[in-house]
């Protein structure tokens, strides 16, 4: 007889429940991306999720392990998250490569779910950004390209997805635009002040809240991501510590800096709405596996992410730093966890 220790009842939570509620919370952002980029978005998401699941299955088979973990939703979630961080112009082989990087290199090699020190989706995205900088920084102009190419037409979208822009007899420049962050960064390097740069951006930067701007397919709409994030907070799947401290740090730093030098630093709302900050704050940084366990640690983690994001955005070589920030803080998680353990009942603070 197997020795079973108490407790003999269980609350009923499971990994699958956690993973599927995260996928559920990403539905608004996913739908919005389909609205913005039509079939192209659909193709990217499907190929990423498919490749993620296939890679997971392949790894488990190769390691001769039970394939049950394939269905716990974690691989599907990783696939979805990568898809949402990719530009709409990502070619098919790159989406598959990204999913394979995420699942094989940064998850299964470490022993599978629960052991990866870095968020798989993020690390795959960073690998892609560094390996293919051109493709990863060409952002299709959302919606306004209707007259050039109708992305709601499946054949055009699939041609774009599989054979690239060249096959459609349009130039890359005609259908792409800079992200708000990229736009500001380029403007600053040309000596244009931030308010001027923002005035010349095709969209009002507050459109970013709704989502009408250039960028990765899933990060456009801060509103959709916020909805998903609030849903997760409400369900108790994620805790407020990381997203709040992350966003507040970025907001505070950009508030202070924009007050001191309004010509060089963009206002806080711009920073909150633009780029992948919302996606990273609610869905990447809160990935339980690669974030701290303790509350204090989560606050430190969030603050660190915010600080690094702000620094890279304003001083670094890349226009967007949220992904790097989360990945950098991922490195520090074991130490943060070790040094922020809560005060044990009846003991003096250690």
């Amino acid at each position: 007889m197997i020795l079973l220790s108490s407790p003999h009842i269980h609350g009923g939570n499971s990994i699958r429940k956690v993973m599927f509620s995260v996928i559920l919370s990403l539905i608004p952002a996913t739908l919005f991306s389909v609205y913005l980029f039509g079939w192209l978005s659909f193709l990217i998401i499907v190929s990423c999720m498919g490749a993620a699941l296939v890679s997971e299955w392949g790894c488990l088979r190769l390691m001769k392990r039970p394939i049950a973990p394939m269905f716990d939703g974690s691989a599907a979630l990783t696939g979805l998250l990568i898809a949402l961080t990719l530009p709409a112009l990502t070619p098919w082989w790159m989406t598959i490569l990204a999913a394979m990087f995420a699942i094989i290199l940064s998850k299964q090699i470490y022993g599978g779910l629960g052991y990866n020190p870095f968020n798989p989706a993020l690390s795959a995205r960073v690998i892609l950004l560094i390996s293919f900088p051109l493709q990863m920084t060409s952002w299709i102009t959302p919606m306004s390209v209707d007259h050039l190419l109708n992305l709601y037409d499946f054949s055009i979208a699939s041609q774009l997805f599989f054979f690239g822009v060249q096959s459609l007899n349009t130039s890359l420049d005609a259908i792409t635009m800079a992200t708000p962050l990229g736009h500001v960064k380029t403007a600053l390097s040309q000596g244009i002040s931030v308010p001027d740069a923002l005035a010349h951006y095709p969209y009002h930067w507050l459109d970013a809240f709704i989502g009408n701007e250039g960028g990765s397919i899933g990060e456009s709409s801060a509103l959709a991501l916020l909805l998903g994030g609030l849903f997760l907070l409400g369900k108790g799947v994620i805790r407020w510590q990381i997203p709040c401290s992350f966003l507040i740090t970025v907001a505070l730093l950009s508030l202070i800096s924009s007050l001191i030098a309004p010509n060089q630093f963009a206002p806080p709302l711009f920073h909150l709405m633009a780029g992948g900050l919302m996606l990273c704050a609610f869905f990447m940084a809160t990935d339980p596996v690669s974030s701290p366990v303790t509350h204090k640690g989560q606050l430190i983690f969030g603050i660190g992410c915010g600080l690094i994001t702000w620094s890279i955005r304003n001083f670094g070589g890349y226009p967007e730093g949220a992904m790097f920030a989360v990945m950098l803080m991922n490195c520090a998680v074991p130490l943060i966890d070790h040094y922020t353990r809560p005060r044990v009942y009846g003991r003096a603070a250690s």
Binding site: I109, Y110, G111, G316, G317, F324, A332, V333
Partner: protein, 193 residues
Amino acid sequence: MYEFAVILLSTILVNNYVLAKFLGICPFLGVSGKVETAIGMSFAVMFVMTLASTASWLVQQYILIPLDILYLQTIFFILIIAVLVQFIEMMIHKTSPVLYQGLGIFLPLITTNCAVLGVALLNIQHDHGLFTSAFYGLGAAIGFGLVLILFAGLRERLDGAPTPKAFKGSPLTLITAGMMSLAFMGFSGLVKF
């Protein structure tokens, strides 16, 4: 003052000796098994690197250049580093035998840590002044220590993981180091120094 801050930031994050310049990989992989050992190693390297960059600058300015024997530069620097390492080895042996055991062969091997010699030589190459050299050395050592300790934390966590057999040990360690290097690439362009 501003200059020193930039030097520190640059050497710690942007041009990190381990993750961006790929120097000092041997102790980085060798003593990152445990956080405590890594902390000890970091301080030892910090001591050696700061003093070595200062001393090598002095030697360069007051012995090598006046006597016109620049071709002996490497030998002189190695000697300085070796002496400092011997000194710190004795000190650790006396003060913390456990750390001494934990660091093992890697403690005397700081002598051949290319990062230390690299810092000394780069200081000369960049025409740094005395204080700049010292800060450059200190920054490089802090950067080395920072990533070493972070890496040790990660490796401690990886210890219990059901890693596939083929990737156990060094392969996984190297992949993790690569991932860290990727993350640190985010800092590129942060400060220009």
